[in-house]
Symmetry: C2
Subunit: 182 residues, 2 copies
Amino acid sequence: MSHFEEKTLHREEIYKGKVVELAVDQVLLPDGKRSTRELVFHPGAVAVLAVTKEGKFIFVEQFRKALERDLLEIPAGKLEPGEEPLTSAMRELEEETGYMADSWIFLSRFYTSPGFSNEVVHLFLAKGLKAGRHHLDDDEFVEVYELTEQEIFEEMARGRIADAKTILAVYHWALFQKKEGE
Amino acid sequence: MSHFEEKTLHREEIYKGKVVELAVDQVLLPDGKRSTRELVFHPGAVAVLAVTKEGKFIFVEQFRKALERDLLEIPAGKLEPGEEPLTSAMRELEEETGYMADSWIFLSRFYTSPGFSNEVVHLFLAKGLKAGRHHLDDDEFVEVYELTEQEIFEEMARGRIADAKTILAVYHWALFQKKEGE
């Protein structure tokens, strides 16, 4: 139990879309006052740090409408209803890049924007990759790259790699997985 | 220029709140087909990894309504209109924790959820801390902690620390700042 808990007095459901839902809650604060909270509900997502036998990492470049620009990210996608995160990670890696992996390791689970959203990302490491054919969703357009660790850090410095899940995944690998893999 | 660019054919503005705005765009895909994009616009945020002279890190625990639970995070807050990120970071650290810092270093800038939101976090390192009094916003209730590096990794394993900006900040420090600080 939290001693900071904010009880919902009233919820207004503003929007229910394909990806997100928006609600505005009237809440009772711990001091008895009231405030509002704008909440974006999301089904959750998976992300995959996929490493080739040569020690290169699979990246996808795609246009991000919210930013009006391309980003270079690790493969990722949202959870389908009732889908296990690992199943979803395997599906997304193959759909977006064509790669399948022999070995899957759960790395981390984190909230991306807890101030307004419940989106959670389940992060996996995929090793022993085999190339195949990708088969994207109708509205997905991505380009697949294989990057060395040095290239990844260069693209971070350049700002082409610039999203939290990707940076967190690369840092996680550099801190904890790198030595094991060598 | 992106060769994946999605042109906006029509934008429906669904909601404009205190923190977020929601819009749904009808877009023209690179292959000439159409799709919709649900977009959550956010003013951007700052986050501060603040280190005491004893090498402890300042954390705040607060209730996150979108998750219906408490999280232990580094101090953070959203940018006010026209505010410089560094000014905002100084303000948020003092408001939430009472601490002021002698030295500020820009660490990183990243998008938290590029799949649906333009939220960007500007991350700073604050050193040479002096304790003061905190003065929270009317609807903010936080508890301030000082944690050692070991305690941080324990709280990550326990799931009390579980948000991307905090984990990314701690990893960044462990990879790049730790040796300099010793």
